[in-house]
């Protein structure tokens, strides 16, 4: 009986692990050769209009999200943790939202989001499309290397393990 229980536990664990790995592998698109990121325009919380050049020299993770998107909110703690752990080593996360300014500001305050988030000024959805999200789903993350080239895109929420792997694999060598 105990042996059967152990066998079942092992199988269930492997099944869950396999499912998790399968999902993780299915939504990430790694570019064979990093592509220069297109010019996109975003408006910071202080009203300043910027392009991605604002963060050139950093490993930039752009996380498109919205307050009405449950998977987006699910991955936020992992994003905040990553910003805290890797910020000093060159990571910068930014969060353009497909949402109005009030909703974004309220949630950012409530969750104490530790990276810049920006409301939709009309440019967020076009930026997301330009950065490769043809399906329009959220969350959508784009990893851009310090030279301003797109390295990977991920459609869907990431676990902290996935996020950790994505960042640590791409941090500049000197800062790993």
């Amino acid at each position: 009986m105990i042996a059967l229980f152990k066998k079942t536990s092992v199988i269930v664990t492997l099944c869950l692990l396999g499912g998790a790995l399968g999902f993780a592998a299915s939504r990430t698109t790694a570019l064979k050769k990093p592509q220069p990121a297109p010019t996109v325009h975003l408006t910071l919380a202080d009203g300043r209009k910027v392009t991605l050049d604002e963060w050139k020299g950093k490993l930039l993770l752009i996380n498109f999200w919205a307050t009405w998107c449950a998977p987006c909110r699910k991955e936020m703690p992992a994003l905040m943790d990553a910003q805290k752990r890797y910020g000093a080593r060159g990571l910068q996360i930014i969060g353009p939202a497909l949402d109005d300014e009030k909703s974004v500001r309220e949630l950012a305050t409530k969750l104490k989001i530790n990276y810049p988030v920006m409301a939709d000024d009309g440019n967020v959805e076009p930026a997301m499309m330009l950065l490769g999200n043809a399906e329009g789903g959220l969350p959508y993350s784009v990893l851009i290397d310090p030279q301003g080239r797109i390295v990977k895109t991920v459609l869907g929420d990431m676990s902290s393990t996935e996020l950790d792997g994505l960042i640590s694999d791409n941090l500049p060598a000197a800062s790993k």
Partner: protein, 152 residues
């Protein structure tokens, strides 16, 4: 040995399925919002007005995010919508919500005899996919092509 084989099969089968479904790492086969929630032509038979969607397997629409507005004729308002009972779903961020998944969803309006024929209806809806993505709220304007024969 049998246990080992079974364990390997169980470990890799979901990966193979997920990989096959999404074309091995390519996101092209993740459904577009219009394929995930296929909205059907507006139906009106003199007694009822219907808006319907085919919700693809693995996808769901939120009941509370369904909105309807009569655009033409603008002189009258839509009667209260009748919706089927959805599935109760607990979301850690949004609490208890009702969703419609993997089904034909029909939003039904009993049309008063005295009301003019509806020509254009604006519909808003929002939903997600089980794989952990949500689609932005969608707005569509549906036009009545031709009234259907009244149901007996």
């Amino acid at each position: 040995m049998k246990v080992l084989l079974l364990a390997v099969t169980v470990l890799f089968a979901p990966m193979a399925i997920a990989g096959g479904f999404t074309n091995s790492g390519n996101t092209d086969t993740i459904l577009s919002v219009d394929d995930a929630f296929r909205i059907m032509p507006l139906e009106y038979d003199g007694k009822r007005l219907r808006v319907s969607w085919e919700v693809a397997p693995g996808h769901y629409l939120y009941r509370k995010r369904l909105q309807f507005k009569l655009l033409d004729p603008a002189v009258t308002e839509l009667p209260p919508v009748q919706l089927p009972k959805g599935i109760s779903h607990h979301d850690e961020h949004f609490g208890d919500v009702e969703i419609y998944r993997g089904t034909t969803l029909v939003a039904d309006f009993a049309w008063p005899k005295t009301a003019p024929t509806p020509h254009r209806v604006q519909v808003r809806y929002q939903g997600c996919a089980d794989i952990g993505i949500c689609y932005p709220p969608q707005t569509r304007v549906l036009e009545l092509i031709a009234p259907t024969a009244p149901t007996p």
